[in-house]
Structures are given as structure tokens and as C-alpha cells.
């Protein structure tokens, strides 16, 4: 069982790790794609900026040429100023575009732009300057040269435009490829994640089913083994059980009230170490073995000694032990003989307060030390309260345990009748521990009826 649990935990951890790694890969992939696409978009924006600047450059070139024409036709110096302004703007703009092309590592377009700027320089030297020096000279040859420059600049600019457009198209295609790749990769991870999630779900369902089956079996066993409230003459019997969690509901707490021959009644509460089906089966062993031994022995000390021997032989596990309280109650005299094997959660509530019944021996299953019995007389109205350590160990929000003193205070304040008292203790434990209950809690209360009227009514 332990190996199976270990395998289950390992399997769950493994699948969870797979899921987490898959998710991490998917997230990282998406982030990388986003970064790459953002970089491509930034580059594309720069190229588009260069294209816009190039159109602006052409406008400045035309401004230069028109200014020169204006000057040659009118000889108005205004056009000379306009020419120089356009020329300065052209040079600055060309330098700006060259910078962008250099940043974007577009060497081809940069060379073309350089050729274009060189043509413009030649045009200034061969066409513009002679005209600026002498606007009266015959224009025909200069016009032809101007036409030649215009044609070649048009060609060069067309080449620069084409280079930029090709680069932009390449970037668009690259972005599209990245998006496609991202879509495929994402689809792949979604499928992987989905398959793993399905596997995980199947695995978890199987574990839950197994756990549920085990829990059902254990609950059935516990219900079968736990005593009902057997009526005792002139006594009230109350009991309650509180599970800490679903898993702990299959713990090893057991109590029993069993009528032996004559006026004798066996009273038992035990807390077996361990949980699950193993512990539940042991509760049955404890309950019926104690009953069997109690039929042959009158003394609780003898019952505990024999049980200790039988338990050690039957279980053979040094890590399993039982703390238990065994009492034999005479229902006519209300004399109680009891033995407490390491079970310090037994109390007696009298009219004047609550006392803790002392331990009379070690826990069962650990050593072969002798067990002793003690005898107390119960008076009408007295209540024997037996609990498991789930009550003393219940912790408040600050982590402080209730301990014996706290338990005794609770018992003192609890309701008069046996069942009322048991229920009150459960409510108080739940209120104190909330979701922090560490152990399950069993309570058995036996109250000697107070008045004749009460006894008659019972």
C-alpha cells in the first residue's frame, strides 16, 4: 500500500512536472515570437520612414531644379536663395536617409542612394553653377544636360525605391513566416498540453476512484466495528466522532460499550497508530479481541496484559501501538475498575469538578511491562468521559494545543446529558481547530443517572 502511494505521488509529480515544463515552453516560445515580430515591425517602420524621406528628397531635388529654371528665366535673385535653401535641405535629407539605410544594414540601397546623390552633385557642378554664374548664356545645351540628369536620377531613385520596397516585402514575408511558425508551434504545444492534461485527468480520476474505493471500504469497516450506543441500566451513553479530513476519516480510533455477563459492562476506547484500511482492520481486531478477553478476565489489568501479548504476536510491527482505556463497570454498584494503557484522555466529571483518570501502564504493543487496574466509585450524576487525543491536540489559530487542562475545562462547561456532552465537545473542537484539525476525535461519555425519576424514565 505504501509502495502504491509512493508510485501514485511520483506519477502525479511527473505528469505535473511535464505539464509545467510544457506550459513554460509554450509561454517562452510565445514571448520569443512576440520579440522577433516586434523587432521586424520596428525594422519595417524604419524602412517605411526611409521611403517617406526619399519622396521628400525628390521634392527637394525638383525644388532645386525649378529654382534654377526660375532664375534663368527671370534672373530674380530670390530664386538663387530658394535654390540654395533647397540644396541644403536636399543634402541634410540625403544624409538622414543614408543613416537609416546604414542602421538597417541595407548596403545595396545605400550604394544606390550614394550614386543618386553623386549625380545631383554633378548636376550642380555641370548645370546649376554655370547658370548661376551666367544666367544669360544659351540654355539649350544645359537643358539637354538637365534632361539627362533628370532621366538618370529618375532611374536611380527608381532603383532605390525598388530596393526599399523589396526589403519591406521581405520583412512582411518574414513576419508572415514568423506568424505562421508561431501558429504551428502554438498549435503543437496546445495539442501536447491537451494530451498531457487528458492523461493527467485520467490518471487523477483513477487515483480518486481508488482513494474513494479505499475510503468507502474503510468507512464500511469502521461503521461495522464502531459500537452503537448500547444502553446500560441506569446510565446514559453518548458518543461522537469527528474526522479531521476525508483521509483521516479512515483513522484508528475505536470505542465500545459491551454488556458482559451479569451486571458487568465493558467500556473501551482506543487510539491505534496509523491510518487507512490497515488501521481500520486493526480497530476490529482491538474491539473483538478485548471483548473476547473481557469475557474471561474480570480485571482490566489482566485484559490489557493478555491483549498486549496477543497484539504483539498478531501484528508483529514494532511501529504500530495502541493507547487504550479498558473499564469494567458494575451497573448496580457503579463501581468502575479500569486500566489505562498510556491513554491519558480519560476524565471523570463529578458535581465538584473534573478529574483526569491516571494512566496505569504503557501503551500496548511497545513493551511487556505490567499493567495495573484502579477502582473508582461513580456517584449518581457522575460522567465518565473518554476521548482520543484528537481533543487535547486540537490547536487554535496560534497553533496552541488544548492539552488536558483545556479539555477538562471544556468537559466542565459541556451539557449535562451524555450525548449532549459528547456533541458539545465536538462543536468546541471544531470551533477551536477549524480546518486545522490534525487528528480525528472519538468521544464516549457514560453518565450515571441522577434521580430515581430519571432512571424510571430511561
Amino acid at each position: 500500500m505504501k509502495n502504491e502511494s509512493l508510485a501514485n505521488i511520483t506519477g502525479t509529480l511527473l505528469i505535473t512536472a511535464f505539464l509545467v515544463v510544457t506550459l513554460a515552453f509554450a509561454v517562452q516560445g510565445a514571448f520569443e515570437t512576440r520579440t522577433e515580430i516586434a523587432r521586424t515591425f520596428a525594422r519595417q517602420a524604419q524602412i517605411q520612414q526611409a521611403q517617406i524621406e526619399l519622396e521628400e528628397l525628390l521634392r527637394l531635388q525638383i525644388d532645386e531644379e525649378n529654382s534654377l529654371r526660375g532664375y534663368s528665366l527671370t534672373r530674380d535673385p530670390f530664386y538663387v536663395a530658394q535654390y540654395h535653401q533647397a540644396a541644403a535641405g536636399y543634402d541634410a535629407k540625403a544624409a538622414g536617409i543614408r543613416g537609416i539605410l546604414r542602421d538597417q544594414q541595407l548596403a545595396g540601397a545605400g550604394v544606390l542612394l550614394g550614386a543618386y546623390a553623386a549625380l545631383q552633385s554633378r548636376w550642380r557642378a555641370e548645370v546649376a553653377r554655370p547658370l548661376l554664374r551666367n544666367p544669360r548664356q544659351r540654355l539649350v545645351e544645359l537643358d539637354k544636360r538637365n534632361k539627362l540628369f533628370a532621366d538618370y536620377e529618375t532611374r536611380t531613385v527608381a532603383d532605390v525605391r525598388a530596393a526599399l520596397a523589396a526589403t519591406e516585402a521581405g520583412l512582411v514575408a518574414s513576419t508572415q513566416q514568423q506568424l505562421n511558425r508561431s501558429a504551428y508551434v502554438r498549435a503543437f504545444w496546445v495539442i501536447v498540453f491537451g494530451v498531457l492534461a487528458m492523461l493527467f485527468n485520467t490518471y487523477r480520476s483513477r487515483l480518486n476512484r481508488e482513494l474513494e474505493e479505499e475510503r468507502t471500504i474503510t468507512e464500511i469497516l469502521q461503521r461495522a466495528f464502531r459500537s452503537e450506543s448500547v444502553p446500560l441500566p441506569h446510565c446514559e451513553v453518548g458518543s461522537a466522532y469527528l474526522s479531521a479530513t476525508r483521509q483521516v476519516a479512515v483513522g484508528g480510533d475505536v470505542f465500545d460499550v459491551y454488556r458482559l455477563s451479569g451486571n458487568r459492562a465493558l467500556i473501551l476506547i482506543a487510539d491505534i497508530s496509523g491510518k487507512g484500511v490497515d488501521a481500520a482492520v486493526l480497530t476490529a481486531f482491538v474491539k473483538f479481541m478485548i471483548r473476547a478477553i473481557a469475557l474471561r478476565h474480570a480485571e482490566p489489568a489482566s485484559i490489557l496484559s493478555e491483549f498486549n501479548e496477543a497484539f504483539s504476536k498478531a501484528v508483529g510491527n514494532p511501529y504500530l501501538f495502541v493507547s487504550m482505556f479498558v473499564g469494567i463497570l458494575d451497573t448496580t454498584t457503579f463501581r468502575l475498575d479500569y486500566g489505562s494503557a498510556g491513554h491519558d484522555c480519560a476524565y471523570l466529571r463529578r458535581r465538584d469538578g473534573v478529574e483526569q483518570l491516571s494512566v496505569t501502564g504503557p501503551v500496548v504493543g511497545v513493551m511487556e511491562e505490567p499493567f495495573y487496574s484502579k477502582t473508582i466509585d461513580l456517584d449518581p450524576g457522575d460522567t465518565l468521559v473518554l476521548t482520543t487525543d484528537g481533543l487535547t491536540e486540537v490547536r487554535n489559530r496560534d497553533g496552541k494545543a488544548l492539552l488536558g487542562i483545556g479539555a477538562m475545562e471544556l468537559i466542565e462547561r459541556a451539557g449535562t446529558h451524555a450525548q449532549e456532552l459528547a456533541d458539545d465537545l465536538i462543536v468546541a473542537a471544531r470551533a477551536r481547530g477549524g480546518a486545522r484539525l490534525r487528528d480525528d476525535l472519538a468521544i464516549l461519555a457514560i453518565r450515571v443517572m441522577d434521580t430515581e425519576r430519571e432512571r424510571v424514565r430511561a
Binding site: L58, Q61, I62, E65, L119, V140, D143, K144, R145, N146, K147, L148, A150, D151, Y152, E153, T154, R155, A158
Partner: protein, 130 residues
């Protein structure tokens, strides 16, 4: 002498293959207007279609050397088509090959001159212009 040369050119244009003319966008006798769509709208007209083709395939310096064989006419100069060679001029700057069109200039200082011009620089005149 000039008149003789013009007549000679007319004869040369007249023997241009009819097949080529069939694919041309302009036809003999069409009245056209010369106008360039480059930054400078004036038009270069050439003394031979070979030089016209060479100009558009040449480097800048080679083109500059060809310039004495051309005349620059003002945009809007009218002309009459006398010949056409379809798809004759191939250049990286054109998406499609361009026609070489032989024209006789019919307006401006170059009136009566016969030359070759790029197909793309030839436009149909506005209605009723001629």
C-alpha cells in the same frame, strides 16, 4: 541638304516592317504630342533609333556622349507618326519594352524635323487639337 536627309529618313521609315507596326500603340499618320513623364517633361528626340535604344541602356557617361545626336524639344511639341518599331527599346527601368516611334515634328522651332522618340514620350493630343 537638310531636306534631302529628311526625305532619306522618310524613305527609311517607310520600309520598316509592317509586322512591327501592327504591335505599336501609335500608327503612321497619327497626330501626337510629345511629353515626358520624368521630372523634366521636355523630350529628347534622336537621329537614329539605335542611339535612342543605346541611350536607355547606357551608363550616365555613355549617355552623355550620345547627347549631341539628340534634340531637346519642349513638352507639348506636336508631331506626326511616320513609323514605329514595336518593343524595340529594352531597359531595366521599363517594366515592358518600349516602342521606338519615328515622327515628323509639326510645331515649334524644330518643325519639319524627322527623328526617333521613345514610345512612352508620345501622347495622343486633346480632341480637336490638330
Amino acid at each position: 541638304m537638310r531636306r534631302v536627309a529628311s526625305l532619306l529618313l522618310v524613305v527609311v521609315f517607310s520600309v520598316t516592317p509592317a509586322v512591327a507596326r501592327a504591335d505599336c500603340k501609335e500608327h503612321r499618320g497619327d497626330k501626337v504630342v510629345l511629353y515626358s513623364t520624368t521630372d523634366d517633361p521636355s523630350v529628347l528626340i534622336w537621329d537614329s533609333r539605335a542611339r535612342l535604344r543605346a541611350y536607355y541602356g547606357a551608363s550616365f557617361d555613355e549617355a552623355q556622349a550620345l547627347l549631341p545626336h539628340s534634340i531637346l524639344v519642349a513638352p507639348g511639341t506636336r508631331a506626326t507618326v511616320i513609323s514605329c518599331v514595336a518593343n524595340y527599346i529594352e531597359s531595366p527601368i521599363f517594366e515592358q519594352p518600349e516602342d521606338a516611334i519615328g515622327v515628323v515634328i509639326s510645331s515649334g522651332p524644330q518643325r519639319g524635323v524627322t527623328r526617333w522618340v521613345l514610345g512612352n514620350d508620345v501622347r495622343s493630343p486633346p480632341k480637336g487639337h490638330h
